[in-house]
């Protein structure tokens, strides 16, 4: 998983960073020299060092999104040399270390580019569209305190493991950023797959996939042409098999919904 370059000596690189003051402002690439870096620094720590220098001079630091810095919160979202999250497979930007670059490299850093993810500032884009998709159906309805004993519903280990594979998605949006069509299929497929694989998720299985896909389309994400760039860029290596599964679920749900009998019960009672 580690790229071929493994520096151990200090290195200097040139950054070409997208700077954009606000959503409605034009942006451009600006060059910065980052000198004498320890190869054990993370990419974000390198940006910290550059920013501290800028701040000390009273210049606006490069805005970039980050939080956990251990590859789990999904906040960091840099496109480094044309690949979301940088050179490594299965690794988020924040876990990318400077030892993966060579002395003298020119590194281009850009924000995600997708219409549903508008740039807010510099390298930060707004990914609340993912929340909207989740709100449309990415859940199992359970009121607090209404659940049966956890062991009352056994879940075959294989299914649970597969569900976990999908559930690992950190909602970073790299799949959208990497997809030439800016499609959100991997993100949505992962959630649909996770909940659809578990017995607990069956009651809402059809309505969930229909609602989430409809929201995804409404928000303006592009259409999948099965290019698998998404899973290649995904820091959690979520498999595009979950897209196939969602395709099937969606079509099956559409047919089931069209032909299943509907109750005309209304609420009320004594």
């Amino acid at each position: 998983m580690v790229a071929h370059i493994t520096s151990t000596k200090n290195l200097s690189v040139t950054l070409r960073v997208w700077r954009q003051a606000a959503a409605d402002q034009p942006g451009r690439f600006v060059e910065y020299a980052a000198k004498d870096l320890n190869p054990n620094m993370s990419f974000l720590e390198m940006l910290d060092v550059v920013n501290d220098a800028l701040e000390g001079k009273g210049e606006d630091p490069i805005a970039f999104a980050h939080d956990c810095r251990e590859g789990i919160c999904g906040t960091c979202s840099l496109v480094i040399n044309g690949k979301p999250h940088g050179p490594h497979k299965g690794i988020a930007s924040c876990q990318t270390y400077m030892r993966s670059f060579a002395d003298g490299d020119v590194i281009v850093v850009e924000p995600y580019r997708a219409k549903p993810f508008p740039v807010i500032k510099d390298l930060i884009s707004d990914r609340s569209a993912f929340d909207a998709i989740q709100q449309a159906g990415g859940f199992i309805t359970v009121r607090s305190g209404s659940a049966c004993d956890a062991n009352a519903i056994p879940v075959p280990k294989d299914e649970a493991d597969l569900a976990m594979d999908a559930a690992q998605c950190i909602g970073c949006g790299a799949c959208v950023a990497a997809c030439k069509n800016a499609s959100a299929m991997l993100f949505v497929g992962a959630k649909v797959g996770h909940l659809g694989l578990l017995p607990q998720g069956q009651a809402e299985r059809d309505s969930r996939v229909l609602a989430m896909v409809s929201k995804m389309d409404e928000l303006g994400f592009g259409n999948c042409t099965n290019q698998y760039e998404c899973s290649a860029a995904c820091p959690k290596l979520i498999s595009h098999d979950f897209i196939a599964r969602m395709n099937r679920d969606y079509i099956a749900a559409s047919f089931r919904q069209a032909f299943k009998p509907k109750s005309n019960a209304s609420g009320g009672g004594a």
């Binding site: 997708a114 389309d217 259409n223």
Partner: protein, 267 residues
Amino acid sequence: MNLFANLFTSSIGRKFLMALTGLILTGFAFGHLAGNLQIFGEPDRINGYAHFLQSLGPVLWLVRLALLAAAGIHIWAAVVLTLESKCARGPKDYGVHRWLEAAWASRYMRLSGLVVLAFIVYHILHFTVGLAGNEYYKGTLDAVVLSEDVREFGFPLATKGTEVHDVYSMIFIGFSHPLVAGFYILATGLLAVHLLHGMESLFQTLGLRNANWSCCLRKAVAGLCVLYFLGNLAIPGAIVTGLLKPAPGTHAAVICDAKCAAKAAAR
């Protein structure tokens, strides 16, 4: 109806239609190739076969309509989905472009599709309707009489003595022109490329693919595409290079011989 809306307005629904229509078109393409390969047999074979198809009447039209609809939906979906996807990138594109894993063929689907479309239009004008500068269109060539019953797997297609179009000669004469043959080869090559991604991709779209057998699928698809291309290459290729000579006595042989004589005389 919801089902209708889901299929025609949602991203996955339209992809589903695309895969279904793609599957139908692929089925036709392979069937058509099998039929065309009969050119390597006696002239009566392909002529009888073509006659049989023509004799189907309303059924032929039904099939044609179905194919047309499939192609129409396929192209419509391709256009709509592509336009939406272009829009989804947003106002600004990346400064650095990089491909990570996308299959090579998948990157040129729109291009290969378009060339195939152009080809199909030309091809129908060429062989089915007889425009496109084909002075030896089957309709203008004298009809030929089958010298024998034509059967395929024991199934009778046409009986001895029937008058039929000379499709055999039409193909021969058509492909004797290097430009025409070249375009056919190019187009069918691109079609093979289209199918190289398309046939695999449709399993993903229909939700039938997963990592456990994707490797076999990929190999099988690649194999089919190579075979498909070789088959399509063989017909114009063999004719234009002269490896396959028209059967003596056919219109094609007559015209060819005349051409050769003219060429020799010019020298």
